[in-house]
């Protein structure tokens, strides 16, 4: 099993404060990797290092390397828009763009000029809405504002929108934490269906969700990776004391 994302000696500073310390980790291809750990341990920071979102915050310093398919995305000649096209992000709260449902899905394909004519775009929009499990609910109202959808539907729209630019990796930062239980299940179900085609990395605070989704688990504490391994083994037989404590709910 080859690694899809390879992190070596990653250090991240917000100003002078260090958020990640010497993180080295390999994310397996076409599986669901779950990042866990207590609040403030650096999960979001690690996730944002995969699509070069850290640089959107002023004053961040990044050292080390993150390789996607063997290519260091922090190398000087890398096109950041190409990185973000390959590594998609599902945010914590759904953020529809200020346009129609249809255009939300179409937007990414348009900016990357991924189709040549209108009809092809329409076919693709339907395809990705189906993939996200939203088509049946929106097919008669494609040109209404995306904000007219419920929060759960909006998150599935964001999933469709992200899939439409044909990424290899899907990142999710607590992607169901703002949703009701049914909508969360919807998203989880999609992620499981899609996991054979995409490398998925999810941050979650709920242990049960982690157990439902994870093939591979990374446990972090205070900016460091404490333990990483195949989900079944890590959940049943953690090697590190801290991991065991976390799983038992000590902190």
């Amino acid at each position: 099993m080859s690694a899809h994302i390879d992190v070596t000696n990653l250090n991240v500073f917000y100003g002078k404060q260090q958020a990640l310390t010497n993180v080295s980790i390999a994310i397996p291809r076409q599986q669901i990797t779950v990042i866990m750990g207590p609040s403030g341990c650096g999960k979001t920071t690690l996730l944002k290092s995969f699509n070069r979102f850290l640089e959107l915050t002023d004053g961040t310093t990044i050292t080390g390397a993150v390789q996607v398919d063997g290519q260091n995305i922090y190398a000087g000649d890398v096109d950041v828009t190409a990185v973000r096209k390959r590594v998609g992000l599902l945010a914590q709260r759904p953020t529809p763009l200020p346009m129609s449902i249809y255009d939300n899905v179409c937007y990414g394909m348009q900016i990357h000029q991924m189709r040549t004519n209108k009809a092809d775009y329409a076919v693709a929009v339907q395809h990705y809405l189906e993939l996200a499990g939203l088509w049946e609910e929106v097919k008669t109202r494609l040109h209404e504002p995306a904000t007219s959808l419920s929060i759960g539907q909006q998150q599935r729209l964001c999933l469709a929108r992200g899939l439409a630019v044909e990424p290899e990796v899907i990142l999710g930062d607590e992607p169901t934490s703002a949703l009701d239980p049914i909508s969360s299940q919807h998203i989880e179900k999609r992620l499981l269906e899609l996991k054979n085609q995409y490398t998925t990395v999810i941050v979650t605070h709920t242990l049960r969700q982690a157990k439902r989704l994870a093939d591979y688990v990374i446990f972090m504490y205070m900016g460091e990776v404490v333990e990483a391994g195949v989900a079944r083994e890590l959940f049943t037989n953690p090697q590190q004391e801290r991991t065991r404590q976390y799983l038992e709910g000590v902190f």
Binding site: F53, G88, P96, L97, P98, V165
Partner: protein, 287 residues
């Protein structure tokens, strides 16, 4: 649990409420008094002739004619200046927000704009006039448009800047996460999302431009002829008001108030028109 009407917190609340309502009433009264004055004194003289004719001989001594020259002049000046200002203000505001963000440079540009905002328009007029002497050109509609655009630019840019600043960060990030360039974010996300605010910014600037007398006095000049060329001088409503109110003839002064009324109506029509437009454009914005 019973409410005690005169304890300290309720008292302060009451006093603040009264103060706020008081200020509101004062502002409303001032506005009302201004409108009342120009309506009462201007409406009787607001004839069809006033808005359909240029001044005839002896107009400023009470003979026939109207202020069509100034109405058209003002519309041309303010529309031209506002259009020109948009061309510069929108890119500056977007650049400030998407590329410079909170850097030192951005703060410097903002400071410069705020200083420019505070400079009286007569200074812009004088500056334009000096420049025109150096270049050897005469007062003209074009010169007036350029100088008025300079007057409008700081207001428009800062108003747009503030609107864009209030945009939720998540929104731009959602587009960036799909691999957008900053320009694509600006054109496809920021502008559609902030359009109502941008319209308001344009409106503010238009209002200042059309009401300005000092900047156009030197640069656009004044003439009784209907403006037909960018290279010729042109009349404007604020100056028309000024000249008419400055005469000793009561009927001409009445027509000065009528001209002020016309100016007010133009501003109101443009204002309501663009608000209506902005509301229609708001369909897709994320709240």
């Amino acid at each position: 649990m019973r409410r005690q009407p005169w304890n300290r917190r309720h008292l302060i609340e009451r006093i603040m409420q009264i103060a706020m309502i008081g200020s509101l009433v004062i502002v409303a009264l001032c506005l009302g008094a201004i409108l009342w004055t120009i309506i009462v004194r201007g409406l009787p003289s607001l004839t069809w002739q006033m808005i359909s004719q240029a001044p005839k001989g002896g107009f400023y001594m009470g003979k026939a004619g109207g202020v069509l020259n100034a109405i058209l002049g003002s519309l041309y000046l303010a529309t031209g200046a506002t259009a020109l200002a948009i061309v510069f203000a929108l890119p500056i505001a977007l650049y400030l927000q998407t590329y410079l963000a909170t850097s030192g440079w951005a703060q410097l540009v903002r400071l410069a704009l705020d200083v420019l905002w505070g400079i009286p328009s007569i200074v812009y007029g004088a500056f334009g006039f000096t420049l025109m002497i150096v270049l050897g050109v005469r007062a003209s509609l074009l010169a007036g448009i350029i100088v008025l655009a300079l007057v409008e630019l700081p207001i428009m840019t800062r108003a747009m800047d503030e609107v864009i600043r209030r945009l939720p960060r998540d929104l731009a990030q959602a587009a960036l996460a799909l691999g957008s360039t900053k320009l694509e974010v600006a054109l496809r996300v920021i502008i559609p999302q902030t359009l109502p605010g941008i319209v308001t910014a344009v409106l503010l600037a238009f209002g200042r431009g059309i009401g300005d007398a000092a900047a156009v006095l030197f640069t656009a000049g004044y003439t009784d002829r209907i403006p037909t060329s960018l290279m010729r001088p042109t009349a404007s409503l604020p100056l028309a008001v000024f000249f008419q109110l400055g005469t000793p003839y009561p009927e001409v002064r009445e027509r000065g108030y009528a001209s002020a009324l016309i100016l007010t109506i133009i501003v109101l029509v443009v204002s309501f028109g663009s608000r209506w437009l902005a509301a229609r454009l708001q369909r897709y914005t994320v709240k």
